[in-house]
Subunit: 492 residues, 2 copies
């Protein structure tokens, strides 16, 4: 009874939804646009969170927690930011229910509990945090202030997709305060590097580091840096952003500090975040028609052991080998599961763990162990080989490293073959339609041209790569002079 998954070729979008649901990462919920993150998906998120959290702490950041609610009067203080998020805000207006006198067993909102001021559910926390920083920052000694928060946020979306775009999602948001613009820019770039490092070395997902055009900038930022990944259908996905906020929020919330010369100045700010959207990216970057392919460094289960036997005596002999093997694997830090449940057959289990993207499967058969052998299958290549039980843990450890590397290399070469230069409009459109991926083209630098290109092709400027090569050229649409190419793509 294998679980049917639509193939990528048939319907990429349905393939994605099938994978998420059937592998047990998440489920739809009764709340419009909100999802349930199931235990397997949450275990994956915990692994991602723990690595990121370690990286944030190693770069000097501390965690804190700020309120879910933002009073409307605070929310609107930084005007650009407020207007950028206004259309997506869930609003709390009342604080009490009462028995509905007209309907037995039902409750109604108590009209007498109307709030004097509406509370916005944070779509992002700059407003509430900068309002707090006002009382935390007086002198240069209080800087830099390097704080991160793990939290849920709400952005009301009309068209939602599991993990990629949900009304509520989990994320981390860093909010830092600095004495100089240079320090804040350095922090912004440092966190971009942390994100890129995480994407490449943990998610096995190559990313392009760049800066956003003005049109795509975070509302309220001076500059938005980003990492952009490429999915298997040729669409780009913004995987993380790091914003240099200048003094915008400090001015909106009147946050000043006195420097060593006792001179008052506004504080410089950054913010940066990644979210459960990364799980969507991970799924779309690597998986195949049989299920998830998870990179070993993030997989909740790295190795599954499946016994193959007839009768209790064979099972007992297998257990005798598996118990010490489990110990050895755990001793070298491998997350291993022994699935000896008796109500499903080995074939069903094989399919199930392929679907779940477990990197390595070890089948232990009664005959093989007589020869001191087990069958080891890797999820990424579907390759199988027999391995000796002697020194198996070390060999499995090596195999996991090899799988991590192979998954990255595969995604990297796909990405590399999907960055294409276009110098004529027809080519530009054809590339987007037929090949997908990033199209590198000249652009005249105006938001207007960017808007027109988006309207005509649905492609946006994903980023201007860091350390971009400077070369003279002409805008792909208007023919106006340009000094560098930028990366266009259709995107999630």
């Amino acid at each position: 009874m294998s679980k049917e998954i639509t193939s990528r070729q048939q319907d990429y979008s349905q393939w994605y939804n099938d994978l998420i649901i059937k592998s047990g990462l998440a489920d739809y919920s009764a709340v419009r646009g909100c999802m349930v993150i199931k235990p397997y998906g949450y275990a994956l998120w915990e692994n991602m969170r723990d690595e990121l959290d370690r990286m944030f702490k190693e770069t000097g950041h501390q965690n804190a927690y700020f309120p879910l609610f933002v009073p409307k009067s605070l929310f609107e203080k930084e005007e650009e930011n407020a207007e950028g998020f206004a259309k997506e805000c869930a609003v709390v207006t009342h604080y009490r229910l009462k028995v509905n006198p007209d309907k037995k067993g039902a409750l109604m909102v108590d009209p007498e509990s109307r709030l004097e001021e509406e509370l916005i559910i944070r779509p992002t926390s700059e407003a509430i945090i900068w309002n707090t920083y006002k009382s935390w920052i007086q002198s240069y000694r209080d800087l830099p202030l390097l704080i991160n928060q793990w939290a849920n946020v709400v952005r009301w979306e009309m068209r939602t997709r599991l993990f990629l775009r949900t009304a509520e999602f989990l994320w981390q948001e860093g909010h830092t305060a600095h004495a100089t613009a240079e320090e804040a820019v350095a922090e912004t770039k440092q966190m971009l590097e942390v994100y890129a490092d995480f994407a490449e070395h943990y998610m096995a997902m190559p990313v392009i580091k760049g800066v956003k055009s003005a049109n795509e900038r975070f509302a309220g930022a001076v500059d938005t840096y980003c990492i952009e990944a490429l999915m298997q259908d040729g669409k780009a996905l913004q995987a993380g952003t790091s914003h240099f906020l200048g003094q915008n929020f400090a001015k909106a919330f009147d946050v000043k500090f006195s420097d060593k010369q006792n001179k008052l100045d506004y504080v410089w700010a950054t913010s940066w975040g990644v979210s459960t959207r990364l799980i969507g990216a991970l799924v779309m970057a690597h998986s195949d028609d049989d299920g998830l392919i998870l990179p070993p460094r993030l997989a909740p289960i790295q190795v599954v052991i499946v016994p193959i036997f007839k009768g209790e005596e064979q099972k007992r002999l297998i257990d005798e080998k598996v118990v010490p093997l489990m110990k050895e694997l755990k001793a070298v830090g491998i997350k291993v599961k022994y699935d000896d449940s008796d109500h499903t057959r080995p074939g069903w289990k094989f399919a199930e763990y392929e679907l779940k993207g477990v990197p390595v499967r070890i089948a232990v058969g009664a005959r093989d162990i007589e020869k001191n052998l087990v069958e080891v299958a890797r999820r990424d290549t579907k390759g199988k080989l027999n391995m000796s039980l002697d020194g198996l843990a070390i060999n499995i450890e090596k195999l996991l490293h090899a799988i991590q590397e192979n998954i990255y290399n595969k995604a990297f070469s796909f990405r590399e073959t999907h960055i294409t230069n276009a110098d004529a409009w027809d080519d530009f459109v054809r590339l987007l339609d037929e090949k997908g991926g990033f199209v590198s083209a000249h652009w005249d630098g105006t938001g207007d041209t960017e808007d027109r290109i988006k309207e005509m092709t649905k492609a946006t400027i994903r980023c201007i790569p860091l350390n971009n090569q400077q070369e003279d050229g002409n805008c792909i649409l208007t023919g106006k002079p340009s000094t560098q190419r930028v990366l266009f793509a259709r995107a999630y």
Copy 2:
């Protein structure tokens, strides 16, 4: 410039607030009833969360995440639960803001974005979770379902206190489903034991395990088990609850399973939770007029090293000793901080780390290190002694164990001397007024009597202790026959 703290004797409640704010655990926020958990407080919460999470996973639970919002029609399905929380519900009614045409720079709720159905911000998640379990549970093979969630919840409170009672708080909520009542009751009791274990062995806070009277039961539960702690002012504090929910939620959400004989039955449920309230309990259980006293097993900083020197040469000599010492301490898993900041004097630092409750302070002076000695001060007893640098890490490790034990013992003997029997009404009232603590008295078992006692004395039944001794007696208020004493107290 030491930070002034009100003494316990002067004003216990103000002492508590002073401690929280001045030690940097938390801060007030711009949102009514919500607080900001500052980095030091959040680090403490992370330590608590990590230990609890480990304990939950060791007992077979998995984490997941369910939506923040509960549609009103789902919320009201389990009537008792809904009515119990109705008066504390924050309600989302709209999903968009727009520019306010009458006020420059201001936003207003867009009246056209009114939701068809209001969304309740979860005060607890039974409703949304059991609505989801309906599609996850079909057969006995799907049971037990052992899930926990770390999340924020909102309960609108009129009178709030930092950590103890805030409109939004962080917590974990376990929600499990079982095939039989016996299994569900066993789970309820198991999680109570986990909580008691955590309170006693990590928080160093003795607790009484018991069951609530009907009046104090969780809305929708068949039985509520609890752990009750005693604060230094003689008031009790409910530190965690574990509920046996019977089939109430399964019936409300129509969650049935087929058993091995293919017979359909409703599923049996439990839920259990502890929250950031535990931080308030920790503070009030142990701290003194000079600041926090944190148990070493949860302290974000276990050891602080303060150098005492004149001039750079002395500082250099001290650094030479401290660098390897830090390594040794970290090697045995001790969280150590070296505070060699130069803008505050040692005396200021001593006071600051006392305020922050760091269990051990090591002062390293230029003269002492010539003799290979450092001065070690423990926060709990304020005792100081000189220790040799040789083997210091091991001795500090032992000292941390001794401090953990001493803090527990002190709280335990305070608690033991504050459980007093009362057999006459006058004694009962005098004990509550003059001595505080738990008063053990007979009760006729009715909610009416309990209500009257509460009205007259502000004391409630904290619990009927597990394995309570059975003895004949007469109700402290009504004189009616009773078979056991119960514990009364005024409580937070």
